[in-house]
């Protein structure tokens, strides 16, 4: 049968490229499948930096991996698995040096080392950066490395389904967006590195392609559980209007937050850390100011960089200035930036262990699509880029170990069967005579998620949200496509993604409804405190015909006992 690779990596962001490099280094035949050209992946948009305890910065000389681990675990509100956090924080310096050797143009200290800046929730300036385009610098380097190693990439292919046979993953079914063909590819191992689902939400800092389709495929077709999906990070500072991210680095460099009374309101919420408290806390503080009317236009507060001066802004935050100039028509050198919280990151994802293994043999996951979990209830800024590279690499190596140990099994039939099933589904969608406008379903989903499963949650809101999602799922069955063209059919692609979005939304809301406590990013006004006795555990959502079935799994705790979390 047609196409075969020993390892297929779905996604060409940082985690996908790193996984492919690792597996290829182990001598395997690897191919990447990606919805977009690698450098168009969302990792490109990361601004602030990547954490590693290099101890390069003045005032950060005492830093080490243990302190990094502690900050991460405390930041996660103790939901992170501590063994995994240890692995990540120990690997961090090596990973950053490796990227530097491969060519990443990090910003530098006076003595020529990698520069580090303070970031929220960290005790030391630990975040290595390349001005405010760190993700861009890293992704380009990773792509350059993949060009050097001649990694094969199937560009503009959309993963639709993961194929199982004999309780193992044997391949995938994907849509070639360029010509509309649906194909099956067999593989001994598949690594899902497809990033987050931000676009389920209305106000999101994410790329438009972040629809969670990889997570959804794992959940719906491979039947692996999703972990902790109710933990959705809201970034405190996204540009009012477009929700383009204004990096935490802006506060790291010394930016202030003001409400409409020109008050640095963070003093009322985190007197010590002020603007540099962790994201969940700052986001909630801003949202409170907005909800209670101490804001502008009922919608935003101000992030003021003016006192940093032209020189520092031009040097450290040139990209932020460009964003403000182009998308808001203002220059942060002489005007404060209007900001509001926006959906930013998914702490949850495909349930994996620190080797990237899922519950299905041969299926691995890494990066934002996966949940190891190292971020628990709330991710610290700069830890996600680290997560993508560390666990991208590990999952690549573990996948090749798995492939080498595995005995071949012919899975042709399973592939053909799944291919036929997917083709039937797509043609049903193409030929649907329904009356529903998919754009409406999509936009109603976005507002529902923003309103009912946003920064502040209650039982009533979440129940309303769940009911709405069920309604939208029904309506989705009645949508009709505006175009049936085979070649580059955006309409088809976006509506295939919509199915996955609805499934993930349901998991998020159900998990949030059941979790009757407040932890990290998940804040229930009706249960405003953390409840370790009942809820120090991971949520696992399994797909069933009638909706998600939830069960729970213990958190691994090694050296840090949960304590109250204050900043």
């Amino acid at each position: 049968m047609g196409l075969h690779h020993q390892v297929i990596v779905v996604g060409a962001g940082l985690s996908g490229l790193r996984a492919a490099l690792a597996a290829q280094q182990d001598g395997l035949d690897v191919a990447i499948l990606s919805r977009v050209h690698p450098v168009r992946s969302h990792s490109i948009a990361a601004q602030g930096g990547i954490n590693a305890s290099l101890a390069n910065a003045e005032g950060g000389r005492d830093d080490n991996w243990e302190k990094h681990a502690f900050d991460t675990i405390k930041g996660s509100d103790y939901l992170a698995d501590q063994d995994a956090v240890e692995i990540m924080t120990k690997e961090a310096p090596g990973i950053v040096y490796e990227m530097e050797h491969w060519g990443t143009p990090f910003s530098r200290t006076i003595d020529g080392r990698i520069a580090q800046r303070p970031f929220g929730g960290a005790a030391f300036p630990r975040t290595c950066y390349a001005a405010d385009i760190t993700g861009h610098a890293l992704l380009h380097t990773m792509y350059e490395k993949s060009v050097k190693e001649e990694i094969k990439v199937y560009e503009e292919y959309l993963l639709l389904s993961i194929v199982k046979h004999d309780n193992a993953c044997v391949g995938i079914v994907a849509l070639n967006i360029n010509n509309g063909e649906i194909i099956a590819m067999s593989a001994d191992a598949v690594i899902i590195a497809s990033g987050g689902y931000g676009r389920i939400y209305g106000n999101s800092t994410n790329a438009l392609i972040n629809t969670g389709s990889g997570m959804a495929a794992a959940y719906l077709s491979a039947g692996v559980p999703l972990k902790d999906l109710e933990f959705v990070q809201f970034h405190p500072t996204s540009l009012y209007g477009t929700n383009i991210l204004i990096t935490e680095g802006a506060r790291g460099e010394g930016g202030y937050l003001f409400n409409n009374r020109h008050e640095r309101f963070m003093k009322n919420y985190a007197a010590k850390a002020m603007e540099l408290a962790p994201r969940d806390i700052v986001a909630r503080s801003i949202q409170t100011e907005i909800n209670e009317g101490r804001c502008y236009n009922n919608a935003y507060v101000l992030l003021d960089l003016r006192h940093l001066g032209r020189k520092k802004i031009m040097e450290r935050l040139p990209g932020i200035r460009d964003i403000c100039l182009h998308f808001a028509g203002l220059d942060p050198i002489n005007k404060p930036i209007p900001i509001q919280p926006g959906q930013h990151y998914s702490m949850g994802g495909i349930d994996t262990n620190a080797n990237g293994e899922t519950s299905l043999a041969g299926l691995f996951a890494a990066g934002e699509a996966a949940c190891v979990s190292v971020h628990g209830g709330n991710r610290l800024g700069g830890n996600s880029l680290l997560d993508t590279i560390v666990f991208g690499k590990l999952s690549g190596h573990f996948a090749s170990g798995y492939v080498k140990a595995k005995k071949k099994n012919a899975a042709d039939q399973a592939l053909q069967a799944e291919l036929a099933k997917v083709k039937a589904k797509v043609s049903r969608l193409e030929n649907s005579a329904g009356k529903e406008n998919p754009a409406k379903v999509r936009s109603e989903l976005k507002t529902t998620m923003m309103e009912e499963a946003g920064v502040f949650r209650t039982k009533a809101k979440l129940e309303a949200g769940l009911a709405k999602i069920k309604e939208l799922k029904e309506r989705y069955k009645q949508i009709h496509l505006l175009s049936k063209i085979k070649k580059y059919n955006l309409d088809l692609v976006r509506n295939l993604e919509l199915e996955g979005k609805l499934a993930l939304a349901e998991v998020i809301v159900l998990g949030a409804l059941k979790r009757e406590e407040s932890r990290g990013s998940h804040f229930r006004t009706d249960y405003p405190t953390r409840n370790d006795e009942h809820w120090l555990k991971h949520t696992l959502a399994h797909h069933t015909e009638s909706g998600p079935r939830l069960d729970y799994k213990a958190v691994t705790i090694t050296r840090f006992r949960p304590q109250a979390r204050t900043y």
Binding site: V36, H37, V39, R40, S41, H42, I44, A45, L54, Y97, E100, H101, W102, G103, P105, F106, S107, R108, T109, I110, D111, G112, R113, I114, A130, A131, I133, H136, A137, H140, T141, E144, K145, V147, K148, N178, A207, L208, I209, G241, T242, I244, L245, G319, D322, I323, H326, F327, G329, A439, L481, L482, S483, I485, K487, Y488, N489, L490, D491
Partner: protein
Amino acid sequence: MVTFKIERFNPDVDKAPYFQTYEVAAGKEMSVLEALFYVVENLDGSLAFRYSCRGAVCGSCAMRINGKNRLACQTLLKKLKSPVITVSPLPHLPIVKDLIVDMDHFFKNYEKIKPYLVNNTSAPEKERRQSILERAKIDEMIACILCGACFSACTVAATDKKFIGPAALTKAYRFWADSRDNLGDERLALVAGEHGALRCHTLFNCAEACPKNIVPTYSIQQLKGGLVKCRFSKPAK
């Protein structure tokens, strides 16, 4: 209402590109990219274009808007100050469909210049040191998002199919000038010859087009200087 004249072409069925007109209900802060989404969602589901970040960092959405190569996501309608907005694909590149062009040629050129850091000395345990000044030399070049706007705007690249083009040459300079790279004159050899850096006639179209305010001409001129010096001085090995 803003009128959009959008160039349409599906090589499978159409003989030649043609323009189609759409009336878009434009919001105050709408970008061209959002307007295109308005079209696919409400008027014509068959329109095709590339997108990803919507924040001018991924380089997907370069196209020709009112006579200039720009990023659709970065171009707000109000800045165009025009009641009619004409959108077509990047010129000089083969059209895949509508606003989507084939970037293969662009990336082939990119691959020609060994777009990765080469350092044959054994890697130190920690970082390779680089001074702030050395790092500043490549600050402009690393901002490139490989969108192809410059390449498509360069008339020389359009007529001489073998010309490496501004983006790849900027990359070449980025590595050549990186104090950590030691491929040295070999990098120059990659951009030498009739179709390399010296083919650039300082048109500055690339600089005009670049949405990241990069001036590829600067990098290219440095490479030309390097080439001439290396031709007349003994290559340092």
